[in-house]
């Protein structure tokens, strides 16, 4: 009698994550081998969150800052659907605006930033701390439309730009409320936990801006700000016809640098940070890279400002029948190595003006304890006075 003979090989039980560590070094080696992919961030999509936290006509320059960034990220290939623009948007059609429907960022008024194709996602009184935190963390009501959502995943690189009036570890939103450095740090941590980003590039132009990124603790964040603690950020120039300052100094020089970048540029973050000149900006911009896992001279500007990073030819198909076929003969092709240029017009004109307009900003360099104890003493004195009188 033959009994069924089975060979059953039991095995492939489940494995715990122990191999991840061993594979990591191998991964690194192979990635290094792929020349062009060296140091790539491994992202497949780019997003931008641009926040102008001020409103009113005299904050014209903050609107221009945000719109300048908007124009730049759009030019470098981030689609409108991936840009969340939060803007009070009350200057373009302000009655005081001599050039209705336009926002300019330089005194010569060369380039209208407002243009005809602009999508403001959060406008006017919608620009609140709560909405900003909701955009980042994704905690939205089900009815919020797609255009107002940050639909990122673990392959998304996000550029976060903020501008407005701020102080030590806070940024004012429309003279109404404040966001603190702790709130942003917590929001980023929640994004990291839910795998809502691959890398974040955080840029802020406000007074004492560098304090705003001091509280970050989540990985893969590169942060830069316009000024140190106790230092103001100044505007760059004003336009005599518009009558107010049109752009902030730090943002002006960033945008000027970005004008030299095109979609396929190999310029790195290191180059951008090296271009900071405190004597021109009139404040000391800071960089925080300790949370960022790549070296700055490997991190391309276009990793955060660009569109797509990779494309593959897929699938290899024959030419379209009935239409023209390529009939390639590799031997007799000649290549014109003209580099496609997508440079836009120059944003800034050379200026002879120096510091035209310094803004008064909230000064919170007071010793905190002095304020605290001052109020306590006042209260104590009141109590003493009342009891003595009785």
């Amino acid at each position: 009698m033959l009994f069924p003979t089975y060979l059953s090989f039991l095995c492939l039980t489940s494995w715990i994550l122990t191999t991840v560590a061993t594979n990591a070094s191998q991964d690194g080696k192979v990635r290094e081998f792929f020349g062009r992919h060296d140091g790539t961030s491994g992202h497949t999509n780019n997003w931008a969150v641009l926040v102008c936290a001020s409103r009113y006509w005299f904050n014209y320059r903050h609107m221009a800052n945000a719109l300048g960034m908007y124009r730049t990220v759009k030019r470098l290939g981030i689609p409108d659907s991936n840009i969340i623009l939060m803007l009070a948007d009350d200057v373009a059609c302000n009655t005081r605006n001599k050039f209705p429907g336009s926002v300019y960022a330089n005194s010569g008024r060369n380039l209208d930033l407002y243009g005809d194709n602009i999508e403001v996602d959060y406008r006017g009184y919608e620009v609140t701390v709560e909405n900003f935190i909701r955009v980042l963390t994704g905690r939205m009501d089900a009815s919020v439309p797609r255009s107002k959502r940050l639909l990122t995943d673990d392959r998304s690189n996000i550029f976060v730009y903020m501008t407005g009036h701020g102080g030590n570890e806070f940024l004012k939103f429309q003279d109404n409320e404040e966001i603190s450095a702790f709130d942003i740090a917590d929001a980023f941590e929640q994004m990291w936990q839910k795998k809502r980003y691959n890398e974040i590039f955080f840029m802020i132009d406000t007074c004492q801006a560098n304090t705003m990124y001091s509280q970050f603790y989540s990985p893969n964040i590169l942060a830069t700000g316009s000024s140190e603690i106790g230092e103001n950020s100044y505007s760059y120039e004003n336009d005599n016809d518009i009558g107010v300052a049109v752009i902030d100094s730090y943002t002006h020089y960033i945008l000027q640098f970005m004008e030299g970048i095109n979609k396929t540029s190999q310029t790195t973050m290191h180059d951008l940070f090296a271009s900071y000149d405190p004597s021109k900006i009139h404040s000391h911009p800071g960089v925080r890279a300790d949370l960022f896992h790549r070296t700055l001279d490997k991190a391309l500007i276009t990793d955060f400002f660009g569109g797509v990073s990779q494309a593959e030819i897929f699938p290899p198909e024959d030419a379209y029948p009935g239409m023209q076929s390529p009939s390639v003969k590799p031997g007799d092709t000649m290549i014109d190595s003209r580099i496609p240029s997508t440079n836009g017009s120059q944003l800034s004109s050379p200026t002879t003006q120096g510091r035209m307009f310094t803004t008064l900003e909230m000064d919170s360099s007071w010793p905190i304890s002095l304020r605290k104890w001052g109020s306590m003493t006042l209260v104590g004195m009141l109590v003493a006075w009342v009891s003595l009188k009785s």
């Binding site: 060979l7 090989f9 639909l151 941590e189 569109g307 030819i313 009939s327 390639v328």
Partner: protein, 508 residues
């Protein structure tokens, strides 16, 4: 009479006045303090954050678990030149712990049963894969596989490729970055873009309905166990590129070429509207691009700058592009028929499968019955997606618990708690059904993932904003100081008066 009464009032002792009586004064003061003390619990209740306790122990236990799918393969070795001994050895090699613990074999528990004798009857287990040696390599229905005699030496290699097609090497890991994240619903946006219709030779229409029905629908319906698809299409007559393609010469003709870098910036997102934003479902874009008569023919260049045969390319996690060069002698206005669209939609189909992570079948294999996809491929995707969703759900639940512990100001409402509990229940179901059905496992795991995500994204989970202590003083001092001081001072005076009274009484 009147004057007498007035005198009485004037002459009355101040301490005898009703409102100056000690008793009245003290009861008024006491009533204030009683109201304050009674209001304290309300104040505490209304200002504290609702933080329900989450089932953290269950979540922690769940995170430790690992999902594993048993894959049983019955190999009919009776009728062939199969070297059973070497096969066994090879299989043992495959089961080395180093290999098994790799990313590739994670969650797959492969068992091989050999039928060595003709007379034996293998007890069929539902869901087993059957492999036989035949004339030509073919993937049949009902999880069958026929392997040709030539392929017998690489039998194990082929089986591994079919059962665990992902993460085969670091190179393939990079390639798999193109696979989109799992979603139960996708929108497929098909766009026909004429670069510039004003220059002539325009494609004004395409038979997209029938093309989709014929070339795509069978694939979509076999993928329906994984995803639901919504389809939208559009034709645009002016869709300029944001850059100028470089001129090249092919033979004696001039042409234009797209370098690798051009491909990455090909999509002119600033000017092309490629999909409507009607829903929050992820969109996969498929673009049929027709170069204008001044730019055509437009070829994709290889690394050395010479034109390649391929006319389509894929953008990871985004979609695919097909470049259609119209022949020089074509009419001014064209409409693409269903048969014209065959190569286009065949390319789109390949791109769609690649984006959705459906593994290709090994070389030399064929599909019988013209099925668009074999059970082997579908099961591999189902297993991978179920593993991903389970892992995603576990990580999300764990991060909710961790964040709630970490951030004190974060409220946890009843909805969050309910969703977390439901997600845990769904995860338990995944483990229950995974041995029998990958389809059900995917259904439960994606349910668990969406519940966990809903809990995470609950609008009520927004943490209160952080305020430094000085802000709190600044807000509370002007508000409460003016109320508190009279009350405290009055209380102090009353206590002082009472204490004096008592001392005077005791002296007497």
């Amino acid at each position: 009479m009147e004057t007498q009464q007035q005198d009485e009032t004037v002459l009355r002792e101040p301490s005898k006045l009703s409102f100056e009586s000690q008793r009245t004064r003290r009861s008024i003061l006491a009533s204030y303090w009683i109201v304050i003390f009674l209001a304290l619990p309300f104040w505490w209740h209304t200002t504290s954050i609702e933080r329900l306790s989450l089932p953290s122990a269950r979540v922690r236990a769940q995170v430790e678990k690992e999902l594993a799918f048993p894959v049983t393969i019955d190999l009919d070795a009776t009728n062939s030149s199969l070297d059973i001994q070497s096969l066994k050895n090879d299989f043992r090699q495959l089961q080395k712990p180093v290999l098994l613990s790799s990313q590739r074999w994670k969650g797959i528990d492969m068992q091989l049963r050999l039928k060595e004798d003709r007379g034996t009857q293998v007890v069929p287990i539902p869901g087993t894969y059957s492999v036989a040696v035949g004339k030509a390599g073919a993937l049949g229905p009902k999880r069958q596989l026929t392997i040709s005699e030539n392929d017998v030496p690489s039998l194990l290699e082929i089986l591994s490729r079919l059962v665990a097609p992902y993460h085969t090497s670091v190179d393939s890991d990079l390639r798999e970055q193109r696979v989109v994240q799992y979603a139960a619903r996708y929108r497929l946006a098909f766009s026909l873009l004429n670069e510039d219709a004003s220059l002539g030779q325009t494609i004004t229409g395409w038979d997209v309905d029938n093309a989709i029905a014929e070339y795509l629908s069978p694939t979509l319906s076999s993928l329906s166990v994984l995803h639901n698809f919504t389809i939208e299409s559009q034709v645009q007559l002016h869709a300029p590129l944001a850059f100028a393609p470089q001129p090249v010469t092919v033979g004696n003709d001039s042409a234009h070429g797209l370098s690798q870098e051009d491909l990455t910036v090909f999509i002119n997102s600033a000017h092309w509207t490629l999909s409507s934003s009607v829903s929050n479902d992820p969109v996969l874009h498929f673009v049929l691009f027709v170069p204008s008569s001044t730019q055509k023919p437009l070829y994709i260049l290889d690394d050395f700058g010479s034109p390649t045969d391929s006319s389509s390319f894929l953008l990871p996690q985004w979609g695919g592009v097909f470049i259609l060069n119209i022949a020089g002698e074509a009419a001014d206005k064209l409409s693409l028929s269903r048969s014209h669209l065959q190569p286009v939609f065949s390319a789109f189909r390949h791109q769609l499968l690649a984006l959705l992570g459906v593994p290709p079948i090994p070389a030399g294999m064929n599909l019988v019955d013209d099925d668009p996809l074999s059970d082997w491929q579908l099961d591999a995707v189902l297993r991978r997606r179920a593993l991903e969703a389970t892992q995603g759900a576990q990580e999300t639940l764990y991060s909710i618990v961790k964040l709630v512990e970490q951030i004190d100001n974060m409220p946890v409402g009843q909805h969050v708690k309910g969703d977390v509990q439901d997600a845990l229940t769904a995860l338990e179901q995944v483990y229950k059904v995974s041995p029998s059905s990958p389809t059900l496992a995917l259904r439960w795991s994606s349910e668990a993932f969406s519940l966990a995500s809903r809990a995470f994204f609950n609008p009520g989970m927004l943490a209160l904003l952080y305020f430094p202590a000085e802000h709190k003083y600044a807000v509370y001092t002007p508000l409460f100081a003016s109320i508190t001081f009279p009350l405290v001072v009055a209380l102090g005076r009353e206590i002082l008066a009472w204490w004096r009274d008592r001392r005077q009484q005791s002296r007497r």
